[in-house]
């Protein structure tokens, strides 16, 4: 199953340059600069109200930036209306035309571009195969399930082979199981057609599963940008560390050493962290963190390896979750550390009240800029 003409299509980069969008006095997008590489799957991830959908709508032409420019390749498209842009959108509500059949829905864009009826029919059939809806062309949208409607919406956008495909939380109406299937499906389709995807979501798992790169947004700004692994393992701000997965964070003072290890002094000691991972320009008051699954929970008095950070504490809560155990451990100064231990059947599971030793490799330690009062809001599970 291949698409006949997508392979030859020249991929261009899309550039968002210093774009700001204000609604009355509310700044939805704040001086955003972003380069989307041709052919990549990029996700805009963030809580509701972080400006991700507004960014998507500006790329689609549904909103005009208050300041800044948007370029497709070298072409400035900032003030171009949607119907003159080589962009298509999969809307959150799908927005399928209820009065048209599946085929006519998918052919809508092609017909407007002047593609002949017979040619459009061929390309629609090709699309129906791609999204696994062969033989459903004559149905009306309301005769399809939610998942099928979503695939029609995708086909209706993809059939036009746009330079950029925008997807505005397209899975939010699907149930969890279907969502998992569709994530893999969408990734497959994207690699098959080779079109640049910009995917807006507040679901971190969705973003991580599918994306080549993730942009984490908060309050109209970019807080983190990179491959899912990089953004997760080396969060650049406190917001990213807590919004994307969970993090244990302690306030600390940063001391940049000359070697490859930086020191973060905190209330009950010092955590070491790889120096090459420090966000540039970071000094003074910082937060030092580690992911719950990177911590090993061990018996008090165990030997700590040279390349490990360590901390002693008392288990407050021990929760069995099937695939693993989750512990809340109180450090001497009262900070609570969440520890996640895989249920591999080998480790000893401490009970509540037990004194334990927490260790983790230095390389899994990270240092971030504190976000101040800008704690993540909204869905972060």
């Amino acid at each position: 199953m291949t698409l006949t003409s997508t392979g030859t299509r020249q991929q261009i980069n899309v550039r968002v340059a210093n774009v700001t969008k204000k609604f009355d006095d509310v700044v939805a997008v704040d001086n955003l600069t972003l380069e989307i590489t041709g052919g990549e799957f990029l996700s805009l991830l963030g809580p509701s109200g972080c400006g991700k959908t507004t960014t998507l709508r500006m790329l689609g032409g549904f909103e005009e930036p208050s300041a800044g420019s948007i370029y497709f390749g070298d072409r400035d498209v900032t003030n171009l209306p949607p119907h003159q842009r080589d962009v298509n959108t999969v809307f959150q509500s799908y927005a399928l035309f209820p009065h048209l059949s599946v085929t006519d829905n998918i052919a809508f864009g092609l017909r407007r571009k002047g593609v002949s009826k017979s040619e459009a029919k061929l390309r629609v059939d090709e699309m129906l195969t791609l999204v696994d809806l062969e033989g459903r062309g004559e149905r009306k949208p309301h005769q399809l399930s939610g998942g099928q409607q979503q695939r029609v919406a995708l086909a209706r956008a993809l059939v036009n082979k746009p330079q950029l495909l925008l997807l505005d939380e397209p899975m939010s109406a699907l149930d969890a199981k279907l969502r998992k299937t569709m994530q893999l499906e969408l990734k497959r389709i994207q690699s098959q057609v080779g079109i640049t995807f910009l995917y807006v979501t507040h679901d971190q798992e969705e973003a991580m599963t599918m994306s080549d790169r993730i942009v984490v947004m908060n309050r109209g700004r970019i807080e983190g940008l990179g491959s899912p692994r990089d953004v997760y393992e080396q969060p650049s701000t406190e917001f990213v560390a807590t919004f994307l997965g969970a993090s244990n964070l302690v306030a600390a003072t940063l001391e940049r050493g000359t070697g490859d290890v930086a020191l973060a002094h905190h209330a009950h000691g010092t955590f070491r962290s790889p120096a090459h991972r420090l966000p540039p320009g970071l000094t003074g008051a910082v937060k030092c963190g580690v992911r719950p699954e990177k911590i090993q929970i061990r018996a008090l008095g165990d030997r700590v390896a040279a390349d490990e950070n360590s901390l002693t504490g008392r288990v407050l809560i021990s929760t069995f979750m099937g695939v693993g155990n989750q512990y809340v451990v109180a450090a001497p100064q009262g900070e609570e550390f969440v520890v996640y231990a895989q249920n591999s059947g080998q480790t000893h599971a401490p009970r509540s009240g037990e004194e334990v030793l927490l260790t983790w490799p230095v390389e899994h330690s990270f240092v971030v800029q504190p976000s101040g009062d800008q704690s993540p809001e909204g869905e972060s599970s």
Binding site: P81, N88, Q92, A95, F97, F108, K113, R156
Partner: protein, 304 residues
């Protein structure tokens, strides 16, 4: 399991239980009874009487009617009034089209751009219609008369000659009809536009359709039931109307409503009046049947 239990209880219900069940099954009908009686007494019976009267011969002097089964009264009514019926259809159709053209932008604007003040603008649209229909039309008579505001202004601007007349013309009748029945067009249009998901318009723009194409390919087809409902709700009362023609019209533009009124109240010819009414009703029914056939009978209820 649940099914078995149900079956069991069904077979062994006691007498009182069974009675309760009967009452709860009849409840909707009992609740509907007053409305059914009301409709029967004040709507169905007069309707039947009208059909009966059309087949009777009535003495204009005494008002006594005898059943003659003369179906020819219907064909006579048609022969005598077909010109006037066609004229009425034409006037009503023109007035309705004018209303559609006038109300569509208003309804569109209120539905998509009025924001939180939607209800305010809807009420503004309806305020003039809180005044009695006849009084409104009589006021129009003052406005349109030869020494009234409109003709005077036009003459002052040298747009028309000094003997120019509006009152009494066909134009005045049609304008009056269009004015009086405007809400019947605007409201169903508003309802159907209000329901239109704005994301569909964005989707259309996203798929390379400009404003005009979007209107033609998305807005119009999705509003078709509303447009048709608006057409019927305006056309039917305009077709049977007799006030506008009597107040604003003159010779040569008599409408069928006026003829029926005269047959009943001036000529005392109940038989001919009823026969003509039956024909008018038949024509209106044809419109409703076409609507049902084209757009389904379910959607008409949404707009009435």
């Amino acid at each position: 399991m649940e099914r078995e239990v149900r079956w069991y209880s069904y077979r062994f219900v006691s007498g009182t239980r069974r009675r309760e069940r009967l009452v709860s099954r009849l409840a909707p009908y009992l609740l509907g009874l007053p409305a059914i009686v009301w409709l029967a007494v004040f709507f169905l019976i007069p309707l039947a009487l009208m059909l009966v009267k059309a087949l009777q011969e009535c003495n204009p002097a005494t008002g006594v009617c005898v059943m003659t089964w003369h179906w020819s009264s219907l064909s006579d009514a048609w022969t005598n009034s077909s010109t006037i019926i066609f004229r009425s259809v034409t006037y009503a159709a023109i007035a309705t089209v004018i209303d559609l053209v006038l109300s569509f932008p208003i309804a569109y604007w209120i539905a998509f751009y009025a924001g939180r003040r939607k209800n305010f603008f809807l009420i503004m649209l309806l305020v003039p219609f809180f005044v009695s229909f006849v009084i409104r039309t009589v006021i129009w008579k003052f406005l349109l008369s030869s020494d009234g505001l409109v003709v005077h202004s036009l003459q002052a601007l040298h747009l028309v000659s000094s003997d120019y007349q509006i009152l009494g013309t066909t134009g005045a009748v049609i304008a009056g009809l269009a004015y009086n029945f405007l809400p019947f067009t605007a409201l169903p249009l508003y309802v159907s536009l209000e329901r239109l998901n704005p994301a569909l318009l964005e989707a259309s723009h996203d798929l390379y359709a400009g404003r005009i194409t979007t209107f033609r390919r998305v807005v119009l087809p999705l509003c078709a039931p509303g447009i048709f409902a608006a057409f019927l709700l305006t056309f039917i009362p305009a077709f049977g109307d007799y006030v506008n023609q009597q107040v604003l019209g003159g010779f040569g533009n008599t409408m069928v409503g006026t003829v029926i009124q005269n047959l009943f109240l001036v000529n005392n010819d109940f038989s001919a009046g009823s026969a003509l009414s039956v024909i008018v009703m038949g024509i209106s029914l044809i419109g409703i049947v076409i609507y049902g056939r084209l757009l389904g009978s379910k959607s008409i209820g949404d707009f009435v």
